[in-house]
Symmetry: C2
Subunit: 177 residues, 2 copies
C-alpha cells in the first residue's frame, strides 16, 4: 500500500478557524481523484487534570456544531512556536486557574486521519491545584466543573463526553489494557 | 448557559465530500461572532467485528489527511434513508465480506462537537463469519486484517488506532468502567 501522489492543490478558504484545500491525487493504481478535501488545523491539546484529592478538573461549554452544551476536558490549540505540553499547561491555567502538578503524555490521536492533517496531544496532569483565576478570551464562556472519578466514569458510560478525542483520552487513562 | 442564536448562514461549499457553512451567531451576552464555521456531514458508523473464535476483523487503509497507512475499524457513511445499524452491516460486508453475528450499539460520539454537526454510531458485532467476498468502490483500497485481542490492545496502547472515534469505541469496549 503506497501513498497517494498529489498532482495539484487549491485552497478553498484560509481563515484562522478554517483552512480547507482540495487536492487532486493519483492513486497507486494510476486512477485520479480530482476532488479530495483536506482540512488543515494546528496541533491540538487536551488535559486530564486531577487534583491532589483525585478529583477531575473539567469544563462545560456550548458547542455550536452539535448546538448543545457538553462536559469536556480542558482543550485548545497549540500556538505557533509553542510546545504541545506548554500549550496544555497554558490552556489549563487560562480556562480553569489550575496549575502545577506532575505532567505526562497520555496519547496522540487524530479526529480524522482521512480529512484532517493535525494531531491531538493528550496530557495527564496529576496533583494540580488552584493557583490563579480563570482568564478567558472575549468570546469564551466556560464553566469549570470539578468531578469525582465515578462521575467522570458515568459520563463515559453514557457517551456524555461526546468529543471522541477526549473520550478516547479518558478511556485510555482509566483502562487496564 | 444558552444556545447561540444564528443570525445568518452562508454555504462556502456543498460537495458530496465537503459541506462547509459560515454562521454569524449571537452569543447569550449579545456579542456577535460573524465567522463561525461548521462542517456538515452525514451520520457515520463504525464496527467492532469479532469472530466466533474471538478475533477482530479490521482494515488497513491509506489516509490522505495524515498521509499514512492506518489500521482501523470498518467504518463508513450512513446513506440517505438508511438506518445506522443497516449501514454498519453493509459496510462490514462490503469492506471485508464478513456478516451475520449478534449486533448491538456500543457508543454514539462526535469527532468534534464544535465544528461538525454529525454523530458516529459504533456497533459491536459478535460472532461474525465470512459470508461473501469484499466489494469495494472503484477508488477504495482496503486490506482486511484479522487480529487477536492482544494485538488490538497493543495497537491501542501505542496510539496506532489513530482515529479517535475508533480508539474511543474500542477502549470503551475493552474497558471495565
Amino acid at each position: 500500500m503506497e501513498k497517494w501522489k498529489v498532482i495539484d492543490t487549491e485552497y478553498l478558504i484560509r481563515r484562522p478557524w478554517l483552512t480547507a484545500r482540495r487536492d487532486s491525487v493519483q492513486l497507486p493504481d494510476g486512477k485520479i481523484l480530482d476532488e479530495y478535501y483536506v482540512l488543515e488545523y494546528p496541533t491540538w491539546v487536551n488535559v486530564i487534570a486531577v487534583t491532589t484529592d483525585r478529583r477531575f478538573v473539567m469544563v462545560e461549554q456550548y458547542r455550536h456544531g452539535l448546538q448543545d452544551i457538553f462536559t469536556e476536558l480542558v482543550a485548545g490549540v497549540v500556538e505557533k512556536g509553542e510546545a504541545p505540553l506548554d500549550a496544555a499547561k497554558r490552556e489549563l491555567l487560562e480556562e480553569t486557574g489550575f496549575g502545577n502538578g506532575s505532567w505526562h503524555l497520555n496519547s496522540v490521536l487524530s479526529a480524522n486521519p482521512s480529512s484532517m492533517n493535525n494531531l491531538t496531544y493528550s496530557y495527564i496532569a496529576e496533583g494540580v491545584e488552584p493557583i490563579d483565576t480563570q482568564h478567558l478570551d472575549d468570546t469564551e464562556d466556560i464553566n469549570v466543573k470539578i468531578l469525582s472519578e465515578e462521575e467522570v466514569k458515568q459520563l463515559l458510560r453514557d457517551d456524555k463526553i461526546k468529543q471522541s478525542l477526549m473520550a478516547a483520552a479518558l478511556l485510555k487513562y482509566f483502562s487496564n489494557i
